[in-house]
């Protein structure tokens, strides 16, 4: 991702595509159409937005006022916490691509990923200032914080849904249908993964108990 920066031109392209996330936020329909069709987006910018999202998500644990976020540090697993974004994101991208590719979706897997990441942009963009702002309010004034943080999440969700419609060249109703279908596909994948892991763990447990039994009898 950073290797390409040796050329000044590509740095310019990177900055330009990162700025384009702001355009996507204010003009979602136009912006997400151009993202793939006019090649205005780059993977570097998408990765940057994702990394910023993850960073803000972790930083808010420590730097948000305790009025809004209380962390039980003893039980916090930072990797699991990161996975709480990355895992649904991966499921969403794969599920969406797998479904839409069967139903005339024009977006490729990478493009689905890129557009989804661009759609996440409001989260770090609102989240970071909100995190600082939270330290200057009292409990009674906390309603601003709660409303704005919910707003940023809804904003991001709407952007992601709109982005999918634009890159697949879907109509609004078809887009909503496939959003619901993708959510369902995510559930199916989770179900299959759970079955898979429980089978594996039972298989492992079988061999462990077999080994134990042998050692008992030796």
């Amino acid at each position: 991702m950073f290797a390409a920066f040796t050329k000044k031109e590509s740095i310019h392209k990177y900055i330009d595509s990162l700025k384009f996330a702001l355009y996507c936020m204010s003009h979602p329909l136009d912006g997400f159409w151009d993202l793939t069709h006019e090649k205005r987006g780059t993977y570097a910018a998408a990765n940057t937005i994702l990394i910023l999202t993850l960073m803000v998500r972790i930083m808010r644990l420590r730097y948000t006022s305790f009025l809004f976020v209380q962390v039980y540090w003893e039980d916090l697993n930072i990797f699991l916490y990161l996975a709480s974004i990355l895992f649904p994101l991966a499921l969403w991208v794969v599920g969406n691509w797998a479904l839409t590719t069967l139903f005339d979706g024009k977006g490729r897997l990478g493009q689905v990923y890129m557009a989804t990441c661009y759609g996440l942009a409001p989260y770090p963009l609102f989240g970071f200032p909100m995190m600082i702002f939270s330290n200057f309010v009292t409990v009674e004034e906390g309603a601003f914080y709660s409303v704005l943080s919910v707003f940023s999440l809804i904003y991001a969700a709407i952007l992601v849904v709109v982005a999918m419609g634009q890159i697949h060249e879907y109509s609004a109703s078809k887009n909503i249908l496939f959003t619901v279908a993708t959510l369902f596909a995510m559930l199916v994948m989770i179900f299959i993964l759970m079955i898979f892991f429980s089978m594996i763990s039972q298989g492992v447990a079988y061999f462990i108990s077999l080994g134990k039994e042998m050692l008992f009898r030796m």
Partner: protein, 503 residues
């Protein structure tokens, strides 16, 4: 080569052995005294109370051993024990802090009534004039006797047509207010406390517990037939188990017979503070519900929620609930925060088998065990006294002393949340807002933190008002100035005289 083979073999064996080892279960010995922190984790605490002595029948010098005693009332320095099984009431005095001596045994009275003895007396209250109010459970009456045990009057089954005519009046617990009005709890009456005026007339029920039910049960009932409905449990208010009139004239009432899940999710209030018109005015600002133990799993043969069988309230507004289930005492402050929890079931001093009643003499606690037939006298330890001192000092407006006392408490128990909040509140009163904020933040006290922060922010703005205005002016004026300057420069650059000259 051979060496290497041996090493591999040993490592394989080591891995095999590792599987064989069952890790020793690290069941932590639960502490006698503990508290819950913000997260609901059990934090061991120094004992707030220590057993001073346990008084059994022989310690009291009784010729007939106590049998299933169920009531304990402290009036001044006199202790009344309702020895229900022997149909008598034992009056004890406390000549020295460590002793209890039997003053007299009340087993009959004089007066113009058919039965002048008691049958299963379960509770007693004493008015300011020295009149006795005795719940004579087996004789279906509450007796009022004067201080020389002469019959004055009796309170019988309330004349209320909503009550079942077959119901036998069985008063179990009672209390009186300063005007000699009687409040009593009777078996089978779930409409609240039965209230009598001083002249003996029944004047209504106060403070019925609110009915809790599950909406699924409700829907289920809608579809059930009449016969099925009759077999189902009906939604009725729970009966109170015990009550206590505090020094302000409010009645603390407790119940243990609520559903475990209702207790856990806070929908059943097992402790209530009832005012004159029957409303619950208990303050519940703590991090957790006032339900005693938060963990209700099976441990040591006991499971389920804490069963509050009696309650008492000290002069400093700390009230103490007695849990019959696990034999524990839970103290809460006037904000509903847990001050201490200690006790357990067992045969040692300070443990109980079936605790039935609790009362206090000053800050000392007396607990009656109905199976052990013994009264346990608890006195505050150094730690407990410091906590009480700190609370008293704060209530008296000695905020600095209170803060210092809380610091001593904190030095003895660094996991004690109330100490941090106490220091914070004392600093808040001393207008040291920034330090106070630190203490509140440590223990996640959002409301107090906000109070401190509001003041701190105000102070900060007032102190830095000049800088703030300068910065604000700079933000507005500098761009303006630059704009003006640029416009002027542009005007000069494009002015006619210069262009002419250049030509």
């Amino acid at each position: 080569m051979k060496k290497r083979l041996v090493r591999i073999l040993t490592s394989i064996c080591a891995v095999g052995m590792a599987f064989l080892y069952v890790l020793p279960v690290s069941a932590k010995e639960s502490s006698y005294s503990y508290n819950y922190d913000y997260w609901g984790d059990v934090q061991d605490a120094p004992s707030s109370y220590a057993v001073c002595r346990v008084f059994t029948s022989s310690d009291l010098g009784l010729d007939v051993n106590m049998k299933n005693p169920s009531g304990l009332t402290v009036v001044g320095d006199l202790v009344y024990i309702c020895d229900s099984g022997n149909n008598r009431i034992i009056e004890c005095k406390r000549p020295t802090p460590q002793t209890l001596e039997v003053n007299r045994i009340i087993d009959s009275f004089t007066g113009d009534v058919a039965v002048t003895t008691f049958n299963n007396p379960t509770d007693i209250a004493v008015s300011a004039e020295g009149c006795f109010f005795i719940a004579d459970n087996g004789n279906a009456r509450v007796l009022k006797l004067d201080k020389d045990l002469n019959y004055l009057m009796e309170f019988t089954k309330p004349d209320d047509n909503t009550l079942n005519a077959d119901l036998v009046f069985q008063p179990t617990k009672l209390t009186i207010d300063t005007a000699d009005r009687l409040y009593c709890i009777a078996t089978g009456i779930n409409k609240g406390l039965v209230k009598y005026e001083a002249d003996g007339t029944f004047s209504g029920f106060v403070g019925a517990t609110k009915v809790t039910y599950d909406w699924t049960d409700y829907i289920w009932k809608k579809f059930a037939t009449q016969e099925q409905r009759a077999l189902m449990a009906s939604f009725v208010p729970t009966e109170y188990d015990n009550l206590y009139m505090d020094h302000e004239g409010f009645i603390y009432a407790c119940t243990g017979s609520a559903e475990k899940d209702d207790i856990r999710n806070g929908s059943a209030d097992v402790v209530r503070r009832i005012n004159l018109i029957g409303n619950d005015i208990l303050v519940r600002n703590g991090d957790w519900y006032i339900i005693g133990d938060l963990y209700m799993g099976n441990g040591g043969g006991y499971e389920g929620a804490s069963y509050f069988t009696d309650i008492t309230c000290l002069e400093n507004d700390i009230y103490i609930c007695l849990d019959r289930n696990r034999g524990r005492l839970f103290g809460y402050d006037d904000q509903g925060k847990m001050v201490f929890a200690f006790g357990g079931n067992g045969n040692m001093d300070g443990y109980f088998r079936r605790p039935a009643a609790i009362d206090h003499m000053g800050y000392d606690l007396l607990v009656l065990d109905s199976l052990d037939c013994a009264v346990t006298l608890f006195t505050p330890t150094e730690f407990g006294s410091l906590v009480y001192d700190a609370i008293d000092q704060f209530d008296d407006g000695k905020y600095e002393e209170s803060g210092n006392t809380w610091r001593q408490v904190m030095n003895m128990d660094g996991n004690y949340d109330l100490a941090y909040i106490g220091i914070g509140r004392s600093l808040l009163r001393q207008e040291e807002y920034h330090e106070a904020m630190d203490y509140f933040e440590l223990k996640y006290d959002a409301d107090n933190w906000s109070k401190a922060y509001k003041q701190y922010r105000k102070e900060w703005v007032e102190e830095h008002i000049v800088i703030i205005i300068i910065v604000l002016l700079a933000v507005v004026l500098i761009p303006l100035g630059i704009g003006k300057f640029k416009a002027l420069k542009h005007e000069i650059d494009t002015a006619d005289i210069f262009t002419i000259n250049q030509k």
